[in-house]
């Protein structure tokens, strides 16, 4: 059996929790997020013939990343870096979080998740900047926790990259 620890990182209210809520197996209530600062969920995906258990550490988002407990990131095999597409500041936050994480843990596969893709009217992210990130080798996915668009695929892609890395 293969398991991978995956951290869900992102600023406050970017939709990490609702992003996974419909797609994961959960046994803890959301109150852990505000008390302990993390909530563990589980998602099993199939990579080829192998079942890969993703143990998702949904880390409580704060807009001051200094407060994020870096000890929670230890042993992660990958990240989902979640950004609220309607709040530009959350992208900067994500960038800072990733830098902090990589400083702590080294480089591991990650996917930048641009959430709330259904709210196109209030979209704030600059496409040029996103293009630059992609050019840097970042993988960008647009998702909507509301419609569920691309969520499953994102998990699967991250699993695939973690297993092959």
């Amino acid at each position: 059996m293969i398991q991978k620890k995956v951290c869900m990182l992102g600023g406050f209210a970017v939709g990490k929790t609702s992003l996974v809520a419909r797609f994961v197996h959960s046994m803890f209530s959301d109150k852990y997020l505000t008390t302990v600062g993390v909530k563990i969920d589980k998602k099993i995906v199939k990579v080829g013939e192998t079942d890969v258990t993703l143990v998702l550490w949904d880390i409580y988002g704060q807009d001051d990343f200094q407060k994020v407990r870096m000890s929670y990131l230890k042993g992660s095999s990958g990240y989902l870096l979640v950004v609220d597409g309607t709040r530009k500041a959350t992208l900067d936050m994500a960038r800072d979080l990733l830098a902090a994480a990589e400083q702590e843990m080294g480089k591991v596969p990650f996917i930048l998740v641009l959430n709330k893709s259904d709210l196109t009217e209030s979209w704030e992210l600059d496409e040029a900047e996103l293009g630059r990130l992609e050019a840097e080798g970042w993988r960008l996915v647009r998702t909507s926790a509301k419609t569920g668009a691309a969520v499953e695929e994102t998990f699967l892609e991250l699993a695939r990259r973690m297993v092959s890395s």
């Binding site: 059996m1 620890k5 589980k42 143990v55 407990r69």
Partner: protein, 586 residues
């Protein structure tokens, strides 16, 4: 094989053999120099191409070759698939040899497993039995009913000192679960998430309270549940313990963590979420499952003893119930027969399982045996020993009098104190007999029949009253044809002569002479007197011994029928009779 140096000269030799520039001398020289080698090579080559010879030569070195590589896992891995396949084929084709070969191994293993299963079953049964017959158990049953848990669960909670319910071997950095074991009958949680959360909480606690990274032991304490955490360099062993394990349990965890790190050092260090290769670690941590129960070991004889005493108590309770019930029924019966008139209970007791009652019984009282019905006792349960006696209470005296005297319907018996009184009308015979007998009745001291009239006497009187003899007008000669009437008068006279009145007084027969209303009283009165005297003389002629008579002439003053006419006059010319008792009663 193709890399073997022995093969290299072969193509060289053959290419030279094909050279068109070779001469005989050179050929000879070559023959001399390389001939034997060539033959050898030829032979070797043939042997290599002949599978039979090859097999033979390999078979000579195979055992040594295998022995040489036996310490190397590569050989085992290489032949494992073939061996697997062979065994599979063998089992499909004929499983018996395999079964025979495995039997000595499997037999004890199965026996051990069964013995283990039985032992734990007996242990839990003992525990349940031990607690199923006590006040504590009653309380626990109520608790179970209240909380919706089964009785055995409640017993377990209360008697458990501690029990290791779950073991998690967790990768220290990632919090990923390497191994998760649960004790029997413990609901398994999702180990992946629990393990992650456990790690997170541990990190959280350490960060929050600034505990050093190498703080060697930790525990999470909840009500009734502890999580013991033993930390190694790469893996953490977390034991979920219900109840409170002793401090020594820490050593068990420590040595398990040490063993795991010793045996799987490399696997743990390079752990990337793939648990393959780490499965045997489960066998090591399994040794940490422990359980202790209160009041169970060393007192194993107690449940039996308790059961025995409980059985005795239950027996006594049942016997007591039946005894009390029998007692209640017996008392009910005794009360009933004591209340019955004419029955006197002298003593009660028990003989051979039967109730015995002795006493006195009036023959006229109810049958004591008939009073059993309705008390709950069976007829067989009671033996009565009754002596007959005569009860002197008024009911029985009267009942006995009635039985003995058999009074006619016209007679009423009465009892006033010890005096039996009779009233009404009865034949002389009954009156006479009763007088003799009544006084002999137990409980009767006096007999009173003053209000009793003699039916015979009344008949006699009435008969006499109805007699009359008619006379010829103006004379003392009776009208002819009255012989039968006269006979009847004589018969009555005879009966009167033979008796007294019921009180023993003498009988006086009045004879009244009458005339019709014609004629003057001066004539009629003497005529009527003469008629009465005629009748008296007629009776006197018959010589009655005791009968006394009195005559009186009433003239026409007391006619039988009033009116006029010869027919009526004829009826009134007569003598009539009346009986009177005279003198003092005897």
């Amino acid at each position: 094989m193709t890399d073997s140096p022995a093969e290299q000269p072969l193509p060289e030799a053959s290419s030279e053999g094909n050279s068109p520039t070779a001469d005989d001398g050179l050929e000879e020289l070559r023959q001399l120099v390389v001939g034997p080698v060539r033959e050898q090579i030829q032979a070797l080559s043939e042997s290599l191409e002949d599978p039979g010879r090859q097999a033979r030569s390999v078979s000579r070195v195979l055992p040594e070759a295998i022995a040489l590589r036996s310490r190397d896992a590569a050989l085992s891995e290489a032949i494992a698939p073939s061996v697997e396949k062979s065994i599979g084929t063998l089992v499909r084709r004929n499983p018996k040899p395999i079964a025979d070969a495995l039997f000595p191994v499997m037999g004890p293993a199965i026996r051990k497993a069964i013995a283990h299963a039985l032992a734990s079953m007996v242990e839990s049964l003992n525990r349940t039995l031990e607690h199923s017959l006590s006040f504590k158990a009653l309380r626990w049953r109520i608790e179970g009913w209240r909380t919706g848990k089964s009785f055995s669960e409640v017993v377990l909670v209360h008697t458990l000192l501690y029990r290791v319910e779950q073991l998690f071997l967790i990768h220290r950095d990632s919090g990923l679960v390497i191994h998760h074991l649960t004790a029997p009958s413990v609901a398994a949680l999702d180990a992946d998430m629990v393990s992650g959360m456990l790690t997170a909480i541990r990190d959280f606690a350490r960060d929050s309270f600034r505990v050093g990274e190498d703080e060697s032991y930790e525990a999470l304490k909840l009500t009734g549940l502890d999580v013991w955490i033993e930390q190694g360099p790469h893996a953490i062993l977390a034991a979920v313990v219900r109840g409170h394990a002793p401090a020594e349990f820490r050593h068990v965890l420590e040595s398990a963590v040490e063993s795991v790190h010793l045996q799987f050092a490399e696997g743990l260090e390079k752990f990337d979420g793939d648990t393959r290769g780490l499965e045997p670690a489960g066998a090591i941590i399994e040794g940490c499952f422990e359980a202790r129960y209160a009041e169970s070991t060393g007192r194993s004889s107690l449940p039996g003893a308790r059961l025995f005493f409980a059985a005795i108590a239950a027996g006594l309770l049942i016997a007591g119930f039946f005894w009390i019930r029998d007692r209640v029924r017996w008392n009910r019966y005794l009360e009933r027969i004591r209340a019955e008139p004419g029955i006197v209970v002298v003593s009660t007791g028990k003989e051979g399982g039967q109730h015995v009652v002795t006493g006195l019984r009036d023959p006229l009282a109810s049958d004591p045996a008939s009073l059993i019905q309705g008390t709950g006792l069976a007829a067989d349960d009671v033996r009565g020993r009754w002596e007959l006696y005569q009860a002197l209470n008024p009911t029985f005296v009267r009942r006995r009098a009635e039985k003995l005297l058999r009074p006619p319907a016209s007679v009423k018996l009465g009892l006033d104190g010890r005096t039996l009184s009779v009233a009404g009308v009865a034949p002389d015979v009954w009156i006479a007999d009763s007088r003799k007998v009544a006084i002999l009745l137990p409980g009767v001291e006096a007999y009173q029949d003053r209000d009793l009239e003699s039916a015979d006497w009344l008949d006699l009187k009435a008969g006499v009253d109805s007699l009359s003899v008619r006379f010829v007008k103006g004379s003392t000669h009776p009208v002819p044809g009255q012989q039968a009437t006269l006979e009847k008068i004589f018969e009555y006279a005879r009966r009167l002569d033979e008796r007294t009145d019921p009180r023993g007084r003498q009988v006086l027969l009045h004879i009244f002479g009458h005339t019709d209303s014609e004629g003057s009283p001066d004539r009629n009165l003497p005529l009527s007197r003469a008629r009465a005297e005629w009748m008296r003389d007629l009776l006197a002629a018959r010589n009655y011994r005791h009968l006394q008579t009195a005559t009186e002439g009433l003239g026409s003053s007391s006619p039988l029928t009033s009116g006029t006419g010869e027919e009526i006059n004829q009826l009134n010319r007569r003598v009539s009779f009346r009986v009177e008792a005279v003198g003092t009663p005897r």
